[in-house]
Symmetry: C2
Amino acid sequence: MVDSPADAESPAVIALGGNTLLGEQGPWTVEAQLEVIERTARHVADVVEGGQDVVLTHGNGPQVGNLLLQQDAAPETPRLPLDVLVAETQAQIGYLLQQALDNELAASPDFLTIVTQVVVDADDPAFETPTKPVGPFYTEAAAAEKPFETRRVGDGERPFRRVVPSPEPVEVVEADEIARLVERGNLVVCGGGGGVPVVRDGRLRGVEAVVDKDKTSQLLGAALDAAVLVVLTDVEHAYVNYGEADERALREVEAAELRTHLRNGEFGAGSMRPKVEACLRFVEGAGERAVIASPEHLAAALAGEAGTQIRA
Amino acid sequence: MVDSPADAESPAVIALGGNTLLGEQGPWTVEAQLEVIERTARHVADVVEGGQDVVLTHGNGPQVGNLLLQQDAAPETPRLPLDVLVAETQAQIGYLLQQALDNELAASPDFLTIVTQVVVDADDPAFETPTKPVGPFYTEAAAAEKPFETRRVGDGERPFRRVVPSPEPVEVVEADEIARLVERGNLVVCGGGGGVPVVRDGRLRGVEAVVDKDKTSQLLGAALDAAVLVVLTDVEHAYVNYGEADERALREVEAAELRTHLRNGEFGAGSMRPKVEACLRFVEGAGERAVIASPEHLAAALAGEAGTQIRA
């Protein structure tokens, strides 16, 4: 257990990447899923026992993909829209996380999983050009018959997938309630899968889109006056010249320098770039520090001793 | 809008039956589902605007059945156990409810959907003899090959269904956190589908079972010191000699008399009996009053002017 110098009065928002929720290889079984989640829970428990309030967010890509695949396979059941399926994954993952965390932290108040809506702008250009692939792979013929937009994303027999918009998050609907929970010392899992995307046109209304979970985590961190945003992923740092002979791990980096690397296209669109963008937004706002690290180094990352430490 | 004389300091626990979440006839589409949920939200909004704090619970039978059916249809996806699927339905339904309620009650704090675990006894005799049918119908041959217990529940080509235990709920894991939310004036959706069934053997562990939502609502009501438990269903009252020529609606009934009717087998096992049992437990405990009513009479039911009003 590492004592965290992070302001214990102020929560750390910890964004759990896919590798904290599912195994890297092997068949996906609920037993394997539980094993990975319990390992993640132990890392989180260490920092909670170190006095750090935490708010957990998480991804849901494979989970929402399976729900889409299962709906496809059972046409006699109602086809629920993507916003409803994202909500389902918040409870699927949240339940397993809160149970594993309650088991690790018997003395603490129980973790609460909060179904979380995130407002996006109905005029977000992302709605014009859906780019985010979700769910099953289709043949060209099958794709042509789907009631939603598909795009060729690869080769082989089934190169088509559904693509959905990935608009920018602008407001976490339940942010005030979550802030009060955190003030009272509750431990919260929320914003799963980037939040359930809704637009506010007088009323709240779900939309078929997915929101980047790291950007929603940044927004939530700002709303909660979090001192630290931690983005957990499957590498120990962000790198420049990643995969090249002269690859260099970024350990301590200022926002200005990191933004230059971002502009120079150092970070992969689907992987590191949104994490770096979320961290930059956080420290360029009121956030003190953002960290990109791997789950096993969470406590050290919070202590400023691991990962890529980003300051304004 | 009806002013409710119910103690505004003490929440009413309102258990939403299937007919408050889904249409009675016609194909199940998400549009039809939303229409029914929005109607339910208006009834709930009336009593909230009348000054009544509410905690909403709800059923999930058709929803969890569809998830089981979809898993069956997509064997290439992981088969998640029933506890995880129950959690998914809590967010599926909770999300749609909280959004509809937020839209009806723009001035109130946002509704929060809390993923809720309910502890059952690992030695509950229900685990010896699973009785609750869930999910798809199977042929005898298909049923024989399933990795879970099935039972003949009807005639026709597919007379078999999976049966699961329905143990008694003994503790709502998140009850303290929900109580504090209610004290602070939050409006909460919780205990969906009777709660996610878990056993406590040193640690919390999910089990493949379903818990009666009305019994969990009673347990939650007791934990929250609720003055009133309202069980909403598709009839206006509980009846004696139901469906007979001398059918009689119960309007005002004392626990002792209702228990006699229960002993005499007046109430159907799958339908009215668990509702009556939950109401009796509630008023035989610290509960002031329990009501069985139809959703359109919610405000009048809380005001003591509709449904079957049950007192100790």
